[in-house]
């Protein structure tokens, strides 16, 4: 299985429309022309500056958006974002939110409930799990959000920017859990503007700038070129 192409992007573009006054709207291309393959078992980094279209690219891979041009060929339907705090309702308890978020991320209710104790322990929320989430600190919310999202186990995991969340202690713990998952033969796409993360974790890197793929290849080479372009301030098309 390893090495087989799971998702293929061919000259993909995504356009948003922005309302511009009375009965008018402007088209805005967040992605112009992006092409790459994602292979089974690899960790692919997508690097680029803010506004390069990284978030749009993730939504495209997750099947949330359809491309306006080009094609996306996907050989799995179990692709999803590491969606933190997806669907959280502040008025409900941590337990109810964990179940809701878990189901939203594709888990079965019974499975979430079966793993609840383990999750509560990991999130360090033993005393608070039956309190409404609106009473939580943002750190507590982040802990619960990460723990639930981490349990959902899609074939392809899409990660935005940071690996760890929460307060200092938990950040280390969640980051370690993520690294472990990435090191296994899980297929992962990490989108970031941090060169370090990419160099450390990825097998291959795609560099995207202004909605166009600039370079694909070994992390060392691509990251070096990316950093040079930042330093020189030039933006290759």
């Amino acid at each position: 299985m390893s090495g087989e192409t799971i998702i293929e992007l061919k000259n993909v573009g995504v356009r948003y429309r922005r309302k511009a006054g009375f009965m008018r709207s402007n088209a805005f291309w967040a992605l112009h022309d992006v092409s790459f393959n994602l292979k089974h078992g690899e960790t692919l980094g997508v690097i680029g500056r803010n506004g390069a279209g990284k978030s749009t690219l993730l939504r495209l891979l997750a099947g949330i958006l359809a491309p306006d041009r080009g094609v996306v060929v996907s050989h799995t339907d179990r692709v999803s974002l590491l969606a933190l705090q997806a669907g959280f309702i502040p008025a409900l308890t941590g337990r109810e939110n964990a179940v809701l978020s878990g189901i939203l991320l594709g888990m079965k209710r019974a499975d979430v409930e079966a793993r609840m104790d383990e999750m509560v322990r990991f999130a360090e929320l033993e005393q608070f799990i039956d309190e409404p989430v609106r009473t939580y600190s943002s750190g507590m919310r982040a802990r619960l959000g990460f723990t639930v999202a981490f349990q959902a186990d899609p074939d392809v995991l899409l990660v935005d920017e940071v690996l760890g969340t929460g307060d200092a202690g938990f950040k280390e713990k969640s980051s370690a859990a993520m690294r472990e998952k990435i090191a296994s033969d899980k297929t992962v796409v990490i989108v970031t503007h941090q060169a370090e993360t990419v160099r450390e974790l990825c097998d291959r890197v795609v560099w995207v700038e202004k909605g166009v793929t600039v370079e694909i290849g070994e992390p060392e080479t691509v990251v070096e070129h990316y950093l040079e372009s930042i330093k020189s301030g030039s933006r290759r098309p």
Partner: protein, 255 residues
């Protein structure tokens, strides 16, 4: 995400929204009963009082037989029309087939309706006693559920594409309300007008509730069958639309 999971999601999220609503308000779930009571009281004062005199109680119950199902229908369509917008945060994070969203609205509103219907049946039982024909109620409820789900899903599918339609829908619902036979018996209108109003599916649903609950007769099965058929066609159409724009809706929410 496998398909059977979506039904679990619709059910759990529908119930969760209901919980959340109750948890937010000071007197919680009392509002599910209080709100429709206030609503019905307002109409009773406006329309029922003038009709009092001998048989005033019957008029009031007849009005309730119309208002209770109407409230369910109109809030479903109204909530449905805003549901993609209301869940924009969610559908940007997780892929969901969009038909699950009006489904959740259906669960939330349906449970509220059943509570009120229970109260109405209790009032009827005390005032007039029960009847065998009440056995037809689940069918009437099911027909209205299909109709509400169909139009709610259709509204949910179209409004993100044409946001201005939201206002048209809320005003259209008001017009439709006055043409649903809530306040007057459609059968007593001039035939030409009655035929025209018969095009409104809610006329048949409300008449069925009234016939069963108040008249203690079996409903007009043929008319209910017609409403059901209409609902299925509309629902099918709405699902096609949603499928067509499934991965386009999230983009419309960004701009």
């Amino acid at each position: 995400m496998r398909r059977n999971n979506y039904f679990e999601l619709i059910w759990y999220k529908g119930i969760a929204d209901l919980h959340a609503e109750a948890a937010r308000a000071y007197v919680g779930f009392i509002w599910w009963i209080l709100e429709p009571l206030l609503y019905m009281a307002a109409f009773y004062v406006a329309f029922g009082m003038g009709l009092r005199g001998p048989g005033g109680g019957v008029v009031a119950l007849s009005l309730l037989c119309g208002l209770v199902p109407w409230k369910w229908f109109s809030s479903s369509v109204q909530n449905g029309s805003g549901t993609i917008q209301a869940n924009s945060g969610l559908i940007m994070q997780v892929y969901l087939p969009k038909y699950v969203l009006p489904g959740m609205v259906m669960v939330t509103n349906g449970i509220k309706f059943l509570i009120i219907l229970g109260l109405l049946m209790l009032a009827m039982a005390v005032a007039h006693g029960v009847a065998l024909a009440w056995l037809a109620l689940p069918v009437v409820v099911l027909v209205e559920m299909l109709l509400a789900l169909a139009l709610s899903t259709l509204a949910a599918a179209i409004v993100p594409l044409l946001p201005d339609l939201d206002l048209v829908i809320s005003n259209g619902l008001i017009v439709m309300m006055f043409m649903s036979g809530i306040f007057s018996d459609v059968d007593r209108l001039p035939p030409a007008l009655a035929h025209l109003l018969a095009l409104n599916p809610m006329v048949h649903v409300i008449r069925a509730f009234r016939t069963v609950l108040l008249g203690k007769q079996w409903p007009d099965w043929l008319a209910l069958g017609g409403v059901m058929l209409f609902s299925l066609v509309v629902y099918g159409l709405a699902l096609l639309l949603m499928k067509r724009y499934d991965r386009i809706y999230p983009k419309l929410l960004v701009g």
